[in-house]
């Protein structure tokens, strides 16, 4: 992650939710805010896999790929010529909630250092992505993804690969927010 872009990324995160004074505190609130926000995006598509398979993949891959802590360091030269180094530590957390009629993947993040939080964070960190999976029939599932429009392509691509079953690879979370 390029730390010089952290302020930009933070602004984009804020612009996700418009001129709000707080971040979404629950998955339901995140789903409600994202579709109408300038920088938010909602994708919906169908996959030829039963809900159970999709949920199993979400559980296995998210546990392996998304519960990570990323440390990023960047150096920049100040106006007086000195080299300044910045480090940001971000912890990501995933949760899969699976039932017979729906599965959900929640991805949250929390800056452990390097970024000052100005809004109240929900438990586990701010929401970054919510994915809903509901069965269309015994062999097909509808996927709906709520996520930021820019800067998170690796995460979106990775989760889409898990949903479709075409790829089990992990998104490189160190690239997230690298705008």
């Amino acid at each position: 992650m390029n730390v010089r872009f952290i302020p930009i990324a933070s602004l984009l995160i804020l612009s996700l939710f418009g001129c709000v004074t707080s971040m979404p505190q629950s998955p339901a609130e995140f789903r409600r805010v994202i579709p109408g926000s300038f920088m938010g995006n909602m994708d919906a598509f169908e996959v030829n896999r039963p809900l159970h398979d999709v949920a199993s993949t979400f559980k296995a891959r998210s546990a392996e790929c998304l519960n990570v802590t990323v440390k990023s360091t960047s150096k920049s030269r100040s106006s007086i010529g000195t080299i300044q180094s910045s480090t940001v530590v971000t912890r990501y957390k995933s949760t899969v909630v699976a039932a017979s009629e729906q599965a959900e993947l929640h991805v949250q993040f929390h800056h452990e250092s390097g970024v000052v939080g100005v809004h109240k964070e929900p438990a586990g960190g701010n929401y970054l992505m919510i994915v809903d999976a509901v069965p269309l029939d015994k062999s097909r599932t509808k996927i709906t993804m709520y996520h930021p429009k820019f800067g998170y392509d690796a995460l979106v691509t990775g989760v889409k690969g898990w949903a479709t079953g075409k790829s089990a690879g992990c998104p490189d979370m160190s690239t997230v927010q690298a705008l």
Partner: protein, 151 residues
């Protein structure tokens, strides 16, 4: 190829600073084959010995700079395999790393194929165990160091 190897080793040294990175010792028999397909990043593999107290002791680093490399990992003893993907931009003065680790305890009469890939910000590390006599193979699930129990 020599220049590339030198650059990769130089990168490893840069990453490690003066922390003592060293090449993984070559021994035999080669029981682990590492297949690498990465683009846009440099990949290395650190091998650590896991002690009975679940502590790790660094053994060495393998530069994953060729499509296929064979190494020897002691059979019957747990090792921690750590694959690190490094992206570094000199002009932008930025660098980032992503690591994947898993415990591996090779069996005496098995060979292990480790497939390492990185493309378009998506990485994958797969470990497949094949019994030499029966040719039966299976994919091994990741076992992180947190699963180790002191004996």
């Amino acid at each position: 190829m020599i220049l590339r190897t030198v650059l990769i080793l130089f990168s490893i040294v840069l990453i490690a600073g003066c922390s003592g990175t060293r090449a993984y010792p070559d021994s035999s028999p080669h029981n682990v084959r590492i297949h690498t397909a990465v683009s846009g990043v440099t990949a290395v593999m650190d091998i650590h010995r896991i002690t009975s107290r679940c502590e790790t002791e660094y053994v060495g680093t393998v530069a994953l700079d060729t499509p296929s490399i064979e190494i020897a990992v002691p059979a019957g003893k747990p090792s921690l395999i750590v694959v690190t993907f490094l992206y570094s931009s000199f002009l932008r003065q930025t660098s980032r790393t992503t690591s994947y680790d898993t415990e591996l305890t090779p069996r005496a009469k098995s060979i292990y194929n480790i497939h390492v890939s990185y493309a378009d910000k998506i990485y994958d590390v797969r470990v497949r165990e094949t019994d030499v006599q029966s040719s039966v193979s299976r994919e091994l699930a990741r076992r992180g160091p947190e699963t180790c129990k002191p004996s």
